[in-house]
Amino acid sequence: MSNAREEILRRVRTALVDVQAHEQPNHIPVDRSYRHHDDAPRSEIVARFAEEVADYKAVVHRIKQSELSKTIAEACKRRKAQRMIIPTDLPQEWLPKGIEGIPDNALTYAQLDAGDGVLTGCALGIAQTGTIVLDSGPRQGRRAITLLPDYHLCVVFEDQVVGLVPEAITQLSDRVHQTGSPITFISGPSATSDIELNRVEGVHGPRTLEVLIVA
């Protein structure tokens, strides 16, 4: 429909007759005097992240690196999860004995749907909003694996947590520009307030989100 394209562009240009030909987009000033960085101490930022994630009804644990495998074992046991989907590059030492890790070697949707849960890392955490960011990078796998299982167990290292949304957007910038890989922001489990404004946790995405914050 190239004629539609030409016509729309013509309409746009006709509509903008008041814009002088020499005006460039960057001639319109954008005042970016909002906060770009959270200057609070690291410990405070991580604590806020834990608090905000929990505020969304996600289950949060703060642990030491040496406790990681043990905590994963306990979480899976509580959840009665035996067969956990994992990205192919998940560190071996994360997976405790007794839990079957099913690496995503191009699993079908039906296979993903049948898993008891999924265990991944993440790209970033945002303290201000309690958000976990996945960018298909290391220890995360493709988008479908964190979407179909009903239980998502996610490992966030303290040094991955940033303070504010602008910090996260800046950190993701290189990845967007270089690879264009998909990015997902997750803030608590799936939810709806469509019925009489009552919040219901869990509609289509994982209904349980459990987050391990590792020092």
Binding site: S2, V19, N26, D113, R143, V165, P182, A191, I195
Partner: protein
């Protein structure tokens, strides 16, 4: 032959529809509760942001930049999407857009497509258009599903089924989805939707979405949502079609740092909505391997052409202005006869459709200005409303030629113009009025004006002209 879409329909005027809506006490109760709840949540999360005003100003300026250079950004976006392996289509109107989407579905022999809630596709009546061609468009958002099953239309941008209570939804699900036993607990109702749609998500080939934002620089598109149906639709099918209005562009990836703070807090009153998906055309081994972006005009360039009205296109569809509007809170969404209700609808709909097709909407406001205060991109809605009211009158005068001189309101205005032009004339009329008001005045007020003036006092009392006017008092000081 029936056309696949009807861009302009004859609609009831706002006052006519408002009368019907006001009689629906259930709707008013639900809306009152909903708007009050969301208002409170929004205020709480906005108040915790020390730089909220800076973010609003940045959001406004970024959108202003985009609108003044929309041709530049549209071409940049097209190049970026194509570079990343996506296809770009241009649609002048609803018919164009619906034809493009139908062709894509047909190319994949799809009789059913899944959809993410999208106002833009509601605006162009895509579900109906596809339906006429034998393609079923299945809504996957819970509220949209409820409305689709009930064969109704939305009453709120954000919570479209706000007019239905849980008992009604339970009854609907039992009847339409063949569920035998079901409680009216929201969690149980949501579970039914999950089971019903899961199979569709896993097996449907083509999905259709809108777009909250599209970055011109990189072609990265964003859909924000709560339930996960959006993630399902943009991740699982083989083919993804996103339909977006040409005004949804933002220049750079970095600009998300502004809008991802403004939108969730203004919209649902959350610090961040549960899920936001960003994708850049196609990624091998992850998600749909065929991506189409449909750029829709459908009246937007008309809005762009009005220098004052242009700011209407900054709108990011958060619905904050609906929730604070005293008019919307009482009449609800249906009275606006548009997929865009509330204050933003009162300025957007007439400009998209042409003023003559919705000329009562710019008057659907008390001009209290609450909408401007909460707008995350600082659209001066009252200013645009007044501007459009002026245009309504001018355009009617132009259409009617000299006949407009006989229109009662115009007659009255012409008379008032003459009176206000001359100080002595004005004072003479005041003195006359003081004499004439005697039989009508009760305790300093006039409750019922006679004849053609009765309309003025139908809703309000009028102050009487006082014994001594300000001018008379001023002069008396020197006497």
């Amino acid at each position: 032959m029936r056309r696949s879409s009807v861009p302009i329909e004859l609609k009831a005027s706002f006052p006519e529809s408002a009368k019907t809506s006001l009689r629906d006490t259930q709707l008013r109760r639900n809306l009152g509760k909903a708007t009050q709840t969301i208002r409170g949540k929004r205020a709480a999360v906005v108040n915790e942001m020390p730089d909220w005003e800076n973010l609003r100003e940045a959001g406004r300026a970024i959108k202003q930049r985009v609108m003044r250079h929309l041709d530049h950004y549209l071409l940049e976006l097209e190049t970026a999407v194509q570079r990343a392996g996506g296809q770009v289509h241009w649609a002048r109107d609803a018919a164009d857009a619906n034809r493009i989407v139908a062709e894509i579905a047909r190319n994949h022999a799809s009789k059913e497509v899944i959809k993410v809630k999208s106002l833009t596709t509601d605006e162009i009546k895509m579900n109906e258009a596809l339906g006429e061609l034998g393609i079923h468009a299945l809504e996957t958002d819970l509220a949209e599903l409820i409305i689709q099953l009930a064969d109704e239309s939305s009453s709120h941008i954000l919570v479209p089924a706000i007019h239905k209570n849980r008992a009604e939804i339970r009854e609907l699900f039992m009847r339409k989805l063949g569920v035998e036993e079901l409680s009216d607990e929201p969690a149980a109702l949501a579970e039914v939707a999950r089971r019903h749609l899961r199979d569709k998500f896993l097996n449907t080939k083509v999905a259709i979405s809108g777009a909250n934002f599209a970055v011109a620089e990189t072609g990265t598109i964003c859909v924000v949502e709560s339930e996960g149906n959006g993630r399902m639709c943009v991740t699982l099918p083989e083919v993804l079609v996103s339909v977006m209005g040409i005004e949804k562009i933002i220049p750079t990836w970095q600009d998300y740092e502004v809008f991802l703070q403004l939108l969730p807090r203004s919209s649902t009153g959350e610090r961040m909505n549960p899920y936001s998906s960003f994708w850049t055309s196609v990624t091998p081994g992850d998600g749909p391997q065929e991506f189409h972006l449909v750029l829709l005009d459908n009246g937007r360039t008309q809005v762009l052409a009005d220098e004052m009205g242009r700011q209407t296109l900054y709108c990011i569809r958060c619905s904050a202005c609906l929730n604070v509007c005293p008019v919307y809170e009482r009449v609800g969404g249906y009275a606006y006869n548009s997929v865009y209700p509330g204050p933003i609808g009162a300025i957007l709909t007439p400009q998209l459709r042409g003023l003559e097709n919705a000329e009562s909407l710019p008057y659907a406001s008390s001009l209290c200005g609450a909408c401007y205060d909460v707008c995350p991109v600082k659209i001066n809605i009252p200013e645009v409303l007044i501007h459009l009211r002026g245009r309504v009158v001018r355009e009617r005068q132009e259409r009617q030629g000299v006949r407009h001189n006989l229109y009662p309101e115009d007659l009255a205005m012409q008379m008032l113009t003459q009176i206000f032009l001359d100080q002595f004339q004005f004072e003479r009329v005041q003195r006359l009025g003081r004499l004439g008001q005697e039989p009508l005045a009760r305790g300093g007020f006039i409750g019922n004006l006679p004849g053609p003036l009765a309309g003025w006092t139908a809703m309000r009392d009028m102050n009487v002209i006082p014994e001594q006017t300000f001018r008379e008092w001023w002069r008396s000081r020197y006497e």
